[in-house]
């Protein structure tokens, strides 16, 4: 099948949607499909061979966060040329409600359209205000996919209908094969992944809990994966800054190794998560997960069956749960064993097969 995949966010920054689009394209290629991808990117950004740039992107605040988007006559012309150049069987756009190239592709395409919705937000004035404007374009979509029950609920609230849920994929084998790195190890090791200066990723909550965790486990080491202001993070950790290792932004292999090194992966995200792919990655790497009890995380961890929860934004509860889990290797092993089975549902082999079945349902023969 000839599949066109469109990502609305630029590849100068690497977020969840971009990662999903690249992984999806590669999973489809591996299954023998022809793939062409389109995304905003600057001239000097290195893109995979199957990807075309839709032109440079502009950082625009939209729907509560800043997205790097592409629009205007240049983007329209590039989208149209890309659609003309690739005689697609199906067009798969991501986040078509975002004012960027996905929406433009929907507007210009004459082929069957599949759309994946990643966002779940309660506050979405823009989505409501633009709803009337978007409706004629949303009508052109033949199949709608939501990445989580949470994203599905948002979508149903705004557009109604019956979108199907297909979760984000993870290359399970790659994470399962990751090995701990001795130089990162503590006794025990706690891992955090995410931008350290973005409030909703919750590093501050973990930093507040960290001194108490260190008190109970004096050998504990905090492994921090993710970009952001390290000095500010050290200030948050105050006297305990010495027990933290900041790896900065790393590639997938290092992230997998960091997760595998951890005895415990803590996800203190406070809001705005629709899925929680890192939780699945940690589970695949065989690391026990302790996450805030936001809906998306409760859904991935099946409300505590596959990992532990603490009350969102509650540093005391986080510390208490972490201390208990770190002291209880049997409970950790049990949670990890349950996770190892559950993550298979998220493996790209499963997810890509489900997505291809959606394509096959809408492709006109």
């Amino acid at each position: 099948m000839r599949v066109g995949v469109v990502c609305p966010y630029s590849f100068e920054t690497y977020g969840g949607v971009q990662a999903h689009v690249v992984d999806l394209a590669e999973a489809l290629l591996a299954r023998g499909h022809e793939v062409a991808a389109l995304a905003p990117a600057n001239e000097d950004t290195v893109l995979p061979p199957y990807m075309t740039s839709a032109g440079g992107a502009v950082p625009i605040p939209y729907n509560g966060s800043v997205g790097r988007l592409a629009f205007g006559p240049v983007a329209v012309a590039r989208v149209r040329r890309w659609l003309r150049d690739h005689d697609l069987d199906v067009l798969h756009v991501h986040e078509p409600g975002t004012p960027s190239v996905s929406l433009l592709a929907v507007a210009s395409a004459e082929v069957p359209i599949v759309a994946t919705f990643h966002t779940s937000q309660t506050r979405s004035r823009a989505m409501s205000a633009g709803a009337a404007l978007l409706r004629p374009f949303m009508e052109k979509i033949d199949a709608r996919i939501a990445v989580s029950e949470h994203a599905r609920a948002t979508l149903v609230q705004h557009q109604g209908g019956e979108p199907v849920v297909i979760p984000n994929g993870v290359e399970v084998a790659r994470y399962a094969a990751a090995r701990p790195r001795q130089q990162w190890r503590g006794e025990p090791t706690v891992v955090f992944v995410g931008r350290i200066d973005e409030e909703r990723k919750g590093f501050a909550v973990l930093a507040r809990a960290w001194p108490r965790i260190r008190q109970a486990h004096p050998g504990a080491r905090l492994l921090v994966v993710g970009a952001g202001d390290v000095d500010q993070a050290r200030t948050l950790l105050a006297g305990e800054a010495g027990s933290a290792t900041f790896l900065g932004r790393v590639d997938d292999a290092d992230k997998a190794a960091a997760l595998a090194t951890g005895d415990l992966y803590v996800a203190p995200n406070t809001r705005g998560e629709s899925f929680g792919i890192v939780l699945v990655e940690a589970m695949a790497a065989g690391t026990c997960v302790l996450a805030s009890d936001i809906p998306a995380f409760r859904s991935v961890l099946r409300a505590g069956e596959l990992g532990a929860h603490f009350a969102n934004r509650d540093a005391d509860d986080l510390a208490q749960q972490a201390i208990a889990l770190l002291a209880d290797s049997e409970r950790r092993a049990a949670l990890v064993a349950a996770s190892q089975v559950a993550v298979r549902r998220y493996d790209w082999s499963t997810v890509a097969a489900e997505i291809v079945e959606v394509y096959e349902t809408v492709v006109r023969r």
């Binding site: 109604g160 209908g161 349902t361």
Partner: protein
């Protein structure tokens, strides 16, 4: 220009805009009805595919005779009524229910399927039936999404006042039990851990698998 000419000009432009807006709405409606036809054709195709494969699975004797008989009976009725899922949704619901009854989500069935899949032909046939069952679910949802979008535009005042929908009948959602057997979940490719130990059998479906 006199005020009269001006006002005539303004009225003319407004009329033109309204006319363009109405014809644009009519084009949207036309497109929606066309997509609805395609979605319906896809649903019928998936239903016929599922019925034909279920019939074959029943006929080749992969299952015990009682299960086979139930399956063949339900599949034959579903195939007869496959062109009209809206008129006879019970036939499709019945086939879904029979599939779940003859292939329940228990260890015995999992073991039976594992044994059957050792034969290449049986494996392919079962995989096709599983895919067809899942696609019935998808096609029904996508069809009903189109129905909803079409009805939304049809119910607008401008559509009704100017009869923009023409003679196309009011579309209706197709509702039947389309839940595929849990043992028909997509098979995952991850089979072994790097250290050689095999992972456990596939997990039961998550809530996301059920509507």
């Amino acid at each position: 220009m006199s005020p009269l000419v001006w006002s005539l000009l303004v009225v003319g432009v407004v009329m033109l805009l309204i006319g363009w807006w109405l014809s644009w709405t009519a084009r949207r409606l036309d497109r929606l009805h066309h997509r609805l036809d395609l979605a319906r054709a896809s649903l019928v195709a998936q239903l016929q595919q599922r019925a034909a494969l279920a019939l074959e699975v029943g006929a080749v004797g992969l299952l015990d005779p009682a299960s086979s008989l139930l399956l063949v009976d339900a599949a034959a009725t579903a195939r007869q009524e496959g062109e009209h899922p809206d008129r006879a949704p019970e036939a499709q619901s019945h086939l879904s229910q029979i599939l779940r009854s003859v292939l329940p989500d228990d260890p015995e069935t999992a073991a039976l399927l594992a044994r059957l899949r050792q034969d290449e032909g049986a494996r392919a046939l079962l995989a096709e039936l599983a895919a067809a069952s899942r696609k019935v679910e998808l096609a029904r949802r996508f069809h009903n999404d189109q129905v909803q979008a079409t009805r939304a535009l049809r119910s607008r005042r401008r559509t009704r006042w100017f009869a923009l929908a023409g003679k196309a009948p009011e579309p209706r959602t197709v509702d039947f039990d389309d839940l595929a057997p849990a043992v028909f979940a997509v098979e995952t490719g991850v089979s072994a851990r790097p250290n050689g130990s095999t992972l456990d059998p596939p997990p039961p479906p998550t809530p996301e698998d059920t509507p």
